[in-house]
Amino acid sequence: MEWDWNFAIKTLPVLGEGVLVTIQATVLGSVLALALGLVFALMRRSQNKLVSRPTSFFLEFIRGTPLLVQLYFLFFILPDVGILLSPLVAGVIGLGLHYATYTAEVYRAGIDNIPRGQWEASKAVNLTAPQTWQHIILPQAIPPMIPALANYIIAMFKETPLLSAITVLELMNQARSISNFHYRYLEPMTLVGVFFLLISIPSVYFLRRLERKYSPHYK
């Protein structure tokens, strides 16, 4: 099989549309994973066992099942109970929810790393619990978490092709339909791989820099 430049170039506009959807899904999924993860982490730390226990169970449950299965539930099974989601919305929720269980773990570890004395000093100057979180705990806890969080976002990005299983027209899905139509897989699939590499490699460099910036070992 020989590389056909003409064919490769012809596929670019359609693949470009897929790229946009892939980026969209990654960005929205990340925002959801970062926000929801923090909520999960706080719920899990709750003094109220009626909150912390079910949260813990839910997180284990999500982490213990494959993302693909969760995507199928969101897109093919929820409609049976009257919840209809568009493919992209179902995909973003699936990615966001799944990765939120991992970011929750990062948040938890980061929060646990803040010395007890910070909580106690906050109480001694009579800050309320929300003020303590906002002004004392999170500003110290979040910077060291950034490399780990960024790592999960990169991982999520590389898992976006799974969304093709629920008919999201992201890059992988577009590439596959072109391939199936023309019986040529080499060019579309190579271009998909190149695209992911083009984003992943700089991301890894970027991650290293974040690590150097925020890791206490480098200070």
Binding site: Q118, E120, A121, K123, V125, L127, T128, A129, Q131
Partner: protein, 269 residues
């Protein structure tokens, strides 16, 4: 005694099987400087932590200016205090910790203004002015824009004192505030405390191993062992003529171990 500002009534504190405070009662008069001494593990820190509401009680009552600290009245009955009540009560109490516990991501000035701004809602300009006065009092106004990490231990502890003073507590708790410091930095912190003692009418409770300072500074000394008060009295009596064998043994130990340190503190007086 005049109406006490702190009235501790038969309090006990257990951690599992361990009884740390054992049915303890004492009172503190307004403006009194009270030194708590005793062997390590005798429950001194726990008393301060109970007063700062960092540690709950197992039993007993604490009154601050005649008001229940850990309880509140509901329908004629005393029930456990809720967070709103504790928040109100904390307004009159401040604490300085052995390990400073400064907020490392905030500047020196922000450490002091934070509570003024968030708890009291003071505007930035006024809060800054007030904080600078306090930093001036502890001799650190020139460090206002630095982060705590760049300060020496003695400077950190002085910032911590300024931070605790910001809300103008009537009661200040000092938990071994010099014991994490290099010996040459102890005096600068003790001098600030001495100044507070002279220039304010705050009630001060200090847990300390600086016997020279306790002797000079305190109006009254409580000697603790195993969660009980063994002996209490004016410093001259406790340090020169202790009545209890356990007090004598303790003082002999700390004074022989820290004789040079206690004396240097006494000389500085």
């Amino acid at each position: 005694m005049v109406q006490p500002i702190i009235d501790i009534q038969s309090i006990s504190k257990c951690f599992g099987d361990l009884t740390v405070l054992d049915n303890l009662s004492f009172q503190v008069a307004p403006g009194e400087k009270l030194a708590l001494i005793g062997p390590s593990g005798s429950g001194k820190t726990t008393i301060l932590r109970v007063l700062m509401t960092l540690e709950t009680l197992t039993s007993g009552h604490v009154l601050i200016e005649d008001e229940q600290l850990w309880h509140m009245e509901r329908g004629g009955k005393l029930v456990d205090a809720d967070e709103t009540h504790l928040h109100k009560m904390r307004n009159s109490i401040g604490m300085v910790f052995q390990h400073f516990n400064l907020f490392p991501h905030k500047t020196v000035l922000e450490n002091v203004t934070l509570a003024l701004r968030l708890v009291r809602g003071v505007a930035k300009k006024q809060a800054d002015e007030r904080a600078l006065e306090l930093l001036d009092l502890v001799g650190l106004a020139d460090k206002r824009d630095q982060k705590p990490a760049s300060l020496s231990g003695g400077q950190k502890q002085r910032v911590a004192i300024a931070r605790a003073l910001a809300l103008e507590p009537k009661i200040m708790l000092f938990d071994e505030v010099t014991s994490a410091l290099d010996p040459e930095l102890v005096d600068e912190v003790l001098n600030v405390m001495r100044r507070l003692g002279e220039e304010t009418d705050m009630t001060m409770l200090l847990v300390t191993h600086e016997m020279g300072f306790a002797r000079d500074f305190a109006d009254r000394v409580l000697f603790f062992d195993k969660g009980r008060i063994i002996e209490s009295g004016p410093p001259e009596q406790i340090f020169t003529d202790p009545q209890e064998e356990r007090t004598r043994t303790f003082l002999r130990k700390v004074l022989s171990a820290g004789v040079s340190r206690a004396e240097s503190a006494a000389v500085a007086i």
